[in-house]
């Protein structure tokens, strides 16, 4: 019935990346003069859909109908000509050009952009300043003003309020409302449920690459959106059997890892946590809530701006991953390519961080090395048929090699950052069983996983990050997916449950 007033109609979009299915059947309908929210948990396919709509990727199947005409965009420039402009999470501004040059680059009128910037609350911007000298929140507003200056009919805002102060965010909302009054449309992507219900008309919810529902976005419909994001079958089934008997944590022992008021960049604002020996602490968060910075800081990959990291009660100076490793903090990254030498053998990969201990100089003590590597490999049941070249192992086995190397060289705290990303269910279970086993043997584990349902399976306790801060903490028994999802969207989950 709304066919006539719909500006954009996307139907049955599918997109595969190799064997990974990003979108199965995505649909999205945006009316003229509507602010439409696009919602979904991690990996639901939001960003893929946005990139198809703006011409970054092309769809494998399905159609995009704009103004009643079937379209497909081969580049961002083509989408822009059709009136679809996106403001990405990382600003599309060239760092070594000035503000004015960037505007010329995108063929956007200067005066219009300045007018929009003033409206967005930035009125003292030096157009001759280089982008690289300008702080991140202002860059996002420049990007937004530039998008607005090209008078788009459909504006896509991807997490636009992240890193914006409250008053600037309010200016952005006012702008969005005015766009609606003028009959333009906005697609609004945000993890902040409160924002969505405040400014959006309707919401489309994606789950596992499928559009599972379109709903009213008014404040009362938050529960419905959460239910749609969760799906029906997941909420009921948490296989208790998979959970090991969780070790009891005595608070008298110094925590294996303690983080105090950590701040880093614009995403990690203020995080404190502690993990005791024998404990698995889960970290739940949607994309870009500071979890990556948190893990990188603890692992010594990135320097933090403020706060402290302590191991066994002692403050650490982390200038290099080697500092973290020697303090017993070891990282298992999501991207196994970052940790492993793909062309080399399992043995060499496992032995790599041990070289320091076995022999600082001179030849490698091959015998001692082999004994340790073999015990670690057999303990983890790594499939060694393809041991001569790591890249021939499956993702799950590669991840086990990463854990095996730390097992062989010894550690106190394991930092797992989304260790099961892109791994099959069977191996996933093995990895979580392994994590539990390591904890039972006295290790501390800090575990982030993008799949919230996995947290109660593997953890003793969970914290939820939102906007770079810890917003909730709960024992694993209460950390079901619905509770975590609510908290991760900035909803007061526990108080609601109590009420």
């Amino acid at each position: 019935m709304n066919e006539t007033s719909s500006l954009l109609d996307i139907r049955d979009i599918a997109k595969n990346f190799g064997s990974v299915v990003a979108l199965r059947a995505a649909a999205l309908n945006v009316r003229a003069g509507e602010v439409h929210a696009l919602m979904g948990a991690n990996g639901a396919g939001k960003s893929t859909l946005v990139k198809i709509l703006t011409g970054v990727f092309s769809a494998d199947a399905g159609e995009i109908i704009l103004d009643g005409k079937t379209r497909s965009f081969r580049s961002p420039a083509e989408a822009r000509q059709a009136g679809i402009v996106s403001v990405y999470q990382d600003p599309a501004l060239v760092p070594d050009l000035t503000v004015a040059q960037n505007l010329r680059l995108a063929k956007v009128p200067l005066s219009e952009t300045v007018r929009w910037l003033t409206e967005l609350g930035v009125d003292d911007l030096d157009l001759k300043a280089f982008i690289r000298d300008i702080p991140y929140p202002i860059l996002r507003l420049i990007d937004l003003a530039r998008a607005l200056a090209s008078e788009p009919r459909l504006l896509l805002l991807d997490e636009i309020t992240a890193a914006l102060s409250a008053d600037l965010a309010e200016k952005v909302f006012a702008m969005v409302r005015r766009r609606r009054e003028q009959g333009h449309s906005v697609i609004f992507i945000s993890h902040r449920m409160a924002e969505v219900s405040a400014i959006c008309d309707r919401a489309t919810v994606l789950r596992d690459g499928i559009t599972v529902g379109v709903t009213d976005a008014a404040p009362g419909s938050q529960e419905r959106i959460v239910t749609l994001m969760l799906g029906t079958e997941i909420a009921k089934a948490i296989p208790k059997a998979a959970r090991a008997t969780h070790a009891r944590v005595s608070s008298s022992v110094a925590p294996a890892l303690e983080v105090r008021s950590l701040r880093c960049g614009h995403l990690l604002q203020d995080v404190s946590l502690s993990v005791h020996p024998g404990e698995v602490l889960g970290v739940a968060a949607l994309e870009g809530q500071g979890q990556e910075e948190l893990f990188h800081c603890i692992a010594g990959v990135r320097r933090f701006d403020d706060g402290a990291i302590l191991a066994q009660g002692k403050p650490l100076r982390l200038r290099h991953p080697a500092d973290a490793i020697s303090a017993g903090l070891v990282l298992v990254p999501a991207n196994r390519l970052q940790a492993l030498l793909q062309q080399r053998s399992i043995r060499e990969n496992v032995a790599l961080p041990m070289f320091r201990r076995l022999s600082a100089w001179g030849p490698v003590a091959m015998k001692a090395e082999r004994a340790r590597v073999e015990s670690a490999v057999s303990r983890l049941q790594i499939d060694t048929r393809a041991e001569s070249e790591l890249r021939r192992l499956s993702g799950g086995n590669q991840q086990k090699v990463v854990i095996a190397r730390w097992l062989a060289s010894g550690f106190k705290t394991l930092l797992c950052f989304d260790p099961t990303r892109g791994i099959d269910v069977g191996t996933k279970r093995q990895i979580y069983a392994l994590v539990r086993e390591l904890a039972a043997a006295g290790s501390a584990v800090l575990l982030f996983t993008s799949e919230l349902a996995e947290i109660p399976l593997a953890c003793d306790r969970a914290i939820v990050l939102f906007g770079g801060r810890v917003v909730d903490e709960m024992p694993a028994s209460e950390a079901d997916e619905a509770t975590l999802l609510r908290a991760a969207h900035g909803l007061a989950a526990r108080s609601e449950a109590a009420a």
Partner: protein, 328 residues
Amino acid sequence: MSATMVGAPAPFRRFVGRHLAWVGMPALLILALAFTALIHPEFGSFDVQSLALGALPLAMAAAAQAVVVLSGGIDLSVGSLMAVSNVLAASTMQHASFTQSLLLAALILIAGALQGAANGIIVVISRIPDVVVTLTTGFIWGGVALLILEKPGGGAPPEFLDLAAGNLLSPWLPNALILLVVAVALIWLPVRRSRLGLLIYAVGSDRIAAFRSGVGIDSTRILAYIVGGLFSALGGLALTMTTGIGAPLAGTYYTLSSVAAIVIGGVRLTGGRGGMVGPVIAAVLLTLIPTDLIFLNIDPNYGQVIQGTLIVFVVMIGGFVAVLQSRK
């Protein structure tokens, strides 16, 4: 960085920061010339002339390298492209009239642009790293140069040579210097002032951001290689003018020296930052080093050692400054 500091550094600092090449490099050149005059009191118009002659081919090579590196690439075939254009000129102009040789020069410039285009197209289409592609094409063109002229020889009409070797206006203002300024300005200024210049800097600075701003990455990179090929061909013609002959192996020196000149001249090796004034003046400085060594009675072969040390230092200081800034 405070929230109120939406702009950038103070105006003076920004001026110096932005025009370091305009302020610093000429100052460095004047210092070097003063030093030369000090160790060689007879320093006169003849020395100015030979310096300009010596620097002309390298300055062109530096200009070629600068354009490509600014766009985020690198061209390791600069020397071979110069050699091809050098031997083409020397073998075809030997018995030509002045007008004919000018016509031939124009054709050679077109050939250079085409060679540059070939580099760019292969880099863009094959997705093979530019270092590998240009090293390989450089190898091929080096062979072609040897096919055209087996050993040093050939020549060009004296009027053609005088385009660089003479001094029309004053003995203190040799033609080579005028040719250098005019040629670089004629090619670079229109590029820099047009949309192409903006595109080259944008693509060299951040390819993804440029793509999302609607910039055609591939076409920009090819165009940068074309401008680079044009400058390389000019460098080859300059070699013909300054040496009077064609030498198939003369180009090899210029590939690495062109990289040295742009690094010393303030072009960032990863692209997007730098200009044309710095590399050209750096080319003159690099030419001055062996001369000064002779005046100081030091084996001029140390020139290469000094040149290499300078590159390491400049790159190291650049990296050090970047680290310091990121810690702020």
